[in-house]
């Protein structure tokens, strides 16, 4: 087991290095940050009924969306791709390979999440007087909402990555609902401006609660008057995110196990043959 831990940490570091050196993937992550900053720079006015700039609400919302996307879009894509290429199979054939894989992926996801979040908030603060937590309490809230938010979406994303068919279809299947939630969860404009049924549907999913939690950490306390409940509802944030975390783990463990078990050389060959026929993969 210690071998698996060591190998997993090594693996995570190497994958992170590959990510940092991959212009394509780095630009993907950076684009999100840049888009958020650009939109924030163009938004004017205040959150209705408060003195909080609209741009701050939007940046807090985007911060939540970045976490959400890393867990539910990027992670499943990585898993599906690595299933298809045979990475998962090779680790399955290696003693301690699957635990090491999970350790490495956790490391990678946490590093990317923390990195993009820090970048977004730091650049916003430096260039445009962006939102930052007020006092230790605010930082603490930022920490636990981020942690619990990742716990809510990462296992769920792993479960999705374990069942989706292939990287090309996977992206289409995931992007639509994710974008839908981006616009209905109160991330980019005040949730109270949306019809109540939409608010109710969005409040089932973790994004609304992640955004609300981050707003409570990043915006001044007076901004809570703009919330649907007139308060930050932090206990509810913790409850909903924990519930998703539990659900995600319950789904992810058997589904990942099943995905790993089902991987085999002949499935791999069959997929490669199909992919080669459709011209999607070289060779």
């Amino acid at each position: 087991m210690t071998n698996a831990w060591r190998a997993g940490l090594q693996r995570g570091r190497i994958e992170l290095r590959h990510l940092l050196r991959s212009p394509k993937e780095m630009s993907g992550h950076l684009t999100n940050v840049v888009v958020a900053l650009v939109i924030a720079a163009y938004v004017t006015g205040h959150v209705p009924g408060t003195h909080v700039p609209m741009a701050h609400l939007l940046l807090a919302g985007f911060a939540a969306y970045l976490l959400f996307q890393i867990g539910l879009v990027n992670l499943p894509q990585i898993l599906v791709t690595e299933r298809e290429e045979g990475t998962l199979l090779r680790l399955r054939a290696t003693p301690g390979g699957i635990p090491a894989y999970l350790v490495a992926k956790t490391l990678l996801v946490v590093a990317v999440a923390v990195g993009t979040l820090a970048l977004l908030l730091a650049v916003a603060a430096l260039l445009a007087d962006g939102p930052l937590p007020h006092g230790p309490g605010g930082w603490l809230t930022l920490l636990w909402v981020t942690t619990l938010g990742l716990l809510a979406v990462v296992p769920l994303g792993a479960a999705i990555g374990a069942v989706l068919p292939n990287p090309r279809e996977a992206l289409a299947l995931i992007m639509l609902p994710t974008m839908g939630l981006l616009f209905t969860s109160g991330t980019v404009f005040p949730i109270t401006s949306l019809p109540v049924p939409v608010q109710q549907v969005a409040s089932v999913f973790p994004l609304k609660w992640m955004a609300q939690g981050l707003r409570s950490a990043l915006l001044p306390d007076t901004a809570r008057t703009a919330e649907a409940a007139g308060s930050w509802e932090l206990p509810m944030v913790a409850l909903v995110l924990s519930a998703w975390a539990v659900l995600g783990f319950l789904l992810a463990v058997p589904l990942l196990r099943r995905a790993a078990r089902r991987e085999s050389g002949s499935r791999l060959s069959a997929r490669h043959r199909r992919a080669a026929q459709s011209g999607a993969l070289p060779g």
Binding site: E82, T87, R92, P95, G265, S266
Partner: protein, 332 residues
């Protein structure tokens, strides 16, 4: 038929199962009994029996779709058999733990993982999972990839990629190595070096090797024993010579007759035919040549016998008397 030549050379009973040379006192490294595999409605294996002994190089041959990969995957523990008994290194592969995994190395038919990794980086990383790994640098030299050590895996040629797969397969010093079509895409030199490597692993380190291939020369060159998987069963198993006997594939004798015409005859016992020819000619024979049956002859012969369905079904071999084509080749 040659005058005075009796074709009734005893034809070996086909032995569809079991080792030709059981090694006394040792438990087989791989043992399978009556293994069946069904994909949905399609039964791919209908009762496969195998015994592979320590230090042996064992080749599994068969046409596309015969079930070679399926068989190997069942033994590797990647696939749940529908029925039958399997023991690999003393354990049921379906319940193999990490320690068991660590004793097995494998090279699969097709994978393209870790494209972004560098060659040496990947090998060094996979060495970290094993208690007593090979030295990555030495291993790279062994498979001829030293020059490519710093290259990204996706920039390797097909054959280089395959050699890296082989290196990854043996980095943990496995006792048992599964190679599913390992030399596909190798150039002749790489193939030769690969053969030397596999022989060295088996002869010097006592590694047991199960290899599938479509390259009959490779099987003949490397394998101590060969099994033919046709129609979901092991139809023949043994050394190349034993297989030829089981298949009733006959050696070819060529010579030049007195009138200068080339002659050709197939004989189960070429020595006897040559002796008869000498006796008839009462002297040397021009252009005498004896070609023993190649594995290809044996393979095709067996395959045709299977697919024609006229003979040899369920591994019970008839006499070669039913096969009228061979003896008539004489006047070619």
């Amino acid at each position: 038929m040659t005058p005075g030549h009796t074709p009734a050379e005893p034809v070996a009973q086909a032995q569809p199962v079991g080792p030709a040379r059981p090694v006394v006192g040792t438990q087989p490294v791989v043992r399978a009994r009556d293994v069946t595999m069904t994909y949905g409605d399609l039964e791919v294996l209908h009762g496969v029996d195998l015994d592979i002994h320590r230090g042996e190089i064992f080749a599994l041959l068969g046409p596309n779709g015969a079930g070679k990969t399926t068989t190997v995957e069942i033994l590797e523990g990647f696939r749940r058999r529908s029925a039958g008994e399997v023991s690999v290194l003393g354990a049921d592969p379906e319940r193999g733990d990490d320690a068991w995994r660590g004793r097995i190395g494998l090279v699969l038919q097709s994978w393209r993982d870790h494209r972004r990794w560098r060659v040496a980086e990947l090998l060094t990383h996979f060495a970290a999972y094993y208690p007593d790994p090979r030295d990555p640098a030495e291993l790279l030299a062994l498979v001829g990839l030293t020059e490519q050590a710093g290259r990204q895996v996706e920039r390797l040629s097909g054959g280089q990629r395959r050699r890296l797969d082989v290196a990854l397969g043996i980095v943990g010093r496995p006792e048992l190595l599964f190679l599913d079509e390992p030399t596909t895409g190798f150039d002749p030199e790489a193939r030769h070096e690969f053969h030397v490597l596999v022989e060295r692993l088996a002869r010097e380190e006592g590694v047991t090797v199960l290899l599938t291939t479509h390259d009959l020369m490779e099987a003949e060159r490397l394998a101590d024993r060969i099994a033919m998987l046709v129609g979901g069963r092991i139809r023949a198993c043994g050394t190349p010579t034993e297989l030829a006997r089981q298949a009733a594939a006959r050696a070819e004798v060529r010579w030049t007759a007195d009138d200068g015409t080339p002659r050709r005859e197939r004989a189960a016992d070429p020595s006897r035919l040559v002796w008869e020819l000498h006796r008839d000619a009462n002297g040397p024979i021009a252009g005498l040549e004896v070609r023993r049956p190649t594995l290809e002859d044996t393979y095709l012969h067996m395959l045709h016998r299977e697919t024609d369905g006229t003979d040899g079904t369920h591994g019970t071999d008839g006499t070669d008397g039913t096969d009228g084509t061979d003896g008539t080749a004489r006047a070619a």
